[in-house]
Symmetry: C2
Subunit: 465 residues, 2 copies
């Protein structure tokens, strides 16, 4: 085995693909991991995709297709003849099969459905009832099920029958005669107990479970919080319907955090699952344009405020030096506060009911940040600026200017921080997505208020009204 | 069991805690999940924390302490007497024990270390060699190990001895006489094969593994990509040192994405692990202040540009209406591009070597977005503005103004988008963190360039120089 350490199936695969060497390709594909094959497929041109799938055949292609980004799945399946498709669709685990049906065109749905065996038809139909982003939509029904009155030997016999089908046997669930979830055993408890031990003696309570109608994120958070390998999914009568596995949880949590990051920058729509380099310019354009155009019109509001105060600027153009800073400091500090609160809401660390505690914490944080910034600027203006900038032709001294700017800065940062913390909570309390709502409303509000705060503060303090 | 569905240990626990009812507290704690207990502990005052830990004792407290946010661990351990601490530290899994040693004060380290048994001392010392954020720093050595020449029966005998210690038996690893990793078997293959089957016949190759010195994120991404429950960790001679488990991967990936989100908003430092509500105002202040002060001084650069062009503004104050918009559009579009690329880099979807492809994609996206925005503004200015704003006293018509603003907008969005995409790639190529570097450099560059682009474009087109 030591000799094989140098052999990399993916390098060999690429070579075979370039040389159109079918038998070498098949041999390498058999050694490769399906996740690597799927990644390779994504980056091939149509002709090579076709050659790859036809060479490895439906058996080996099953896991590869299941691993592909959703938008590529239908295209991949068109490479197969109906008889091959029948094999591939039959081989898919039931949750992957449902995913396929959810993402292909209606015409393909009908065609693929006709290729399924009667049991798979039934199962697929029943799983398609659940929304894609619920625990039911994510679960697999392929789970080890035994009853409490079996012995370890009987349980092993039942499970042996299902062994290759079950997604994981790390946890095996115990159901009653109505199929309701009553407990769980670990495979190690079967392996290490004598064969006549009754399941009833070794089973534990199945405390953690999730309703099929629950959001997929709830399932993922439970798996993460309680360090579970599988989480049972039940209906409202506590019947065991299936399980969500830890690898689903990994996927769900990564999707959600990517979506959160993107929403904060005003990138819209569901995360497409296709990797960045495989999206088109027009897809990128569509996900970003509405936010940019919307915010542009909102920014005209700031422009009007500036225009409105043109008399103040005209009297002392030196004021323009600090205008962008006061406005931007609000955007930056408000954005920080919003980010902290949005992430805390997403991780379930804070609830909308805690609004007062959060506002109080952020108000104090905002005041400290505002005072620090104000002080830093006051020092800069009164000591540094006079030497750089002689004779601005204004009727006030730099000490007054420093005072006025630092007051405006403190007010702006304090109000932006408090607002940035409260906006996501408000959004959540009216059942909107905090990340989607907060970013644009914050940007628009804080820019306008920054202009207003700056001009009215400096005009009042310096007597420029 | 149906009757017990209404019973919630956490409600009962809270009641017992409020009533200072020790025996009810212990009973409820025994039914509760350690993750829930840890979450509860976090939100208690000192007196109740003490009562809770003393009541449940070191055995039950072990998992609770391991689940606590790092900054709370040392405080929690001070509630126990040395004899109890000895039990608790001995009960910890080895990776959790190393975490404890990594996060407590030096003085506590020495005291705790003296309480360990000789084997635990040796193990802890050897694990402390690895940096906290490497695969070696995250791994547990508690893994099922067998050799290829054993039979299934011998393997089960060996594993039975370790059964409660091993973090998971879902995967069992096969090593040679030097302890080098040669393969893996699944527990189900032991459970379902006859007892005289040699391990050699049922073992598979262990293709996925990670070096102990590798970044913890690499381990997490492998677990996620290949849907693994455990990933073996080896040294440079391929000796099996331990495993990183799927629940570590979940934790690592969540920490990393929270950090990425925070960095994009200029929130510094390691994510503290303490939930938002449990951080102090001064912690929040420290994580945010340097970015705000730094950016404030940078913004003065924009202010100087504006001040420099005061003559242009004075000739046509109507230009101030569109100034904030042009500047902000660059920040927004650049931020979107940076976010897409930073996330793609973090997920390993793009490499720095793809810089040209990315720049080309973003340049086209930026041009489309810029042209759209420019067109929208041109329409707004030429059709809507004249009716709102009669007699601005300027020497040019609205058609010229519309043309000038839309040209500036297109140039600003195009350049900001391209820059936003390239900055993270540049940061990665010189081994800096893309999220930390891109946000501030983008904000400062784009604001200044926006002012410059706007004033020079409108001044040139409208003849205001």
């Amino acid at each position: 085995m030591g000799d094989e350490l140098d052999y990399d199936p993916m390098t060999e695969l690429q070579r075979a693909l370039d040389a159109a060497d079918g038998s070498a390709l098949l041999a390498a594909a058999e050694d490769a991991h399906y996740a690597d094959l799927a990644h390779l497929y994504e980056n091939l041109d149509d002709e090579k995709r076709d050659f790859l799938l036809k060479t490895i055949g439906p058996e080996l292609a099953t896991d590869v297709v299941a691993e592909l980004p959703y938008p590529l799945i239908e295209g991949a399946l068109t490479h197969f003849k109906p008889a091959q498709l029948r094999v591939l669709l039959g081989n898919l685990s039931d949750d992957d099969r449902v995913d396929v049906f959810q993402v292909v065109s209606e015409e393909a749905q009908v065609r693929f459905f006709s290729l399924l065996g009667p049991r798979d038809k039934e199962l697929t139909r029943s799983l398609l009832k659940y929304e894609e982003d619920t625990a039911g939509g994510r679960m697999t029904t392929q789970v080890g099920r035994i009853t409490a009155d079996m012995t370890v030997k009987q349980a092993i016999t039942v499970l042996r029958r299902d062994r290759e089908d079950a997604e994981t046997l790390a946890r095996i669930f115990v159901v009653d005669e109505q199929g309701r979830l009553v407990g769980k055993v670990r495979l190690r408890d079967l392996a290490f107990n004598t064969w006549d031990t009754p399941i009833h003696d070794i089973m534990e309570e199945a405390d953690e479970y999730v309703l099929a109608s629950a959001d997929q994120e709830e399932a993922a958070r439970k798996i993460s919080k309680y360090d579970l390998i599988v989480l049972p999914v039940v209906d409202e009568f506590h019947h065991l319907l299936g399980v969500v596995t830890y690898d689903d949880a990994l996927e769900i949590l990564q999707e959600e955090s990517t979506e959160d990051i993107e929403k904060l920058s005003g990138i819209g729509g569901e995360q497409s699952e296709v990797s960045y380099l495989n999206t088109s310019v027009s897809q990128q354009y569509r996900r970003r344009v509405s936010w940019l155009v919307g915010l542009a019109f909102v920014s005209i509001g700031s422009g009007y405020v500036m225009y409105h105060f043109s008399a103040v600027l005209e009297k002392a153009f030196v004021l323009s030096i600090f205008l962008p800073m006061v406005v931007a400091a609000g955007g930056n500090s408000g954005g920080q506060a919003a980010t902290m609160v949005i992430r805390a809401l997403a991780l379930g660390e804070v609830k909308a009911g805690n609004a007062l505690r959060i506002a109080w914490k952020e108000a104090r944080t905002g005041l400290s940040l505002g005072l620090t910034l104000g002080l830093a600027m006051a020092i800069f203006i009164s000591f540094v600026l006079p030497h750089m900038q002689e004779g601005t032709g204004s009727s006030f001294d730099f000490l007054h200017l420093a005072f006025a700017v630092s007051v405006a800065l403190t007010v702006q940062v304090f109000s932006a921080t408090t607002l940035g913390a409260l906006l996501p909570i408000f959004a959540r309390s009216i059942k909107l997505d905090p990340a989607v709502v907060s970013a644009p409303s914050l940007a628009s509000t804080v820019d306008v208020s920054g202009m207003l705060i700056y001009f009215s503060t400096v005009a009042a303090i310096l007597g420029l009204q």
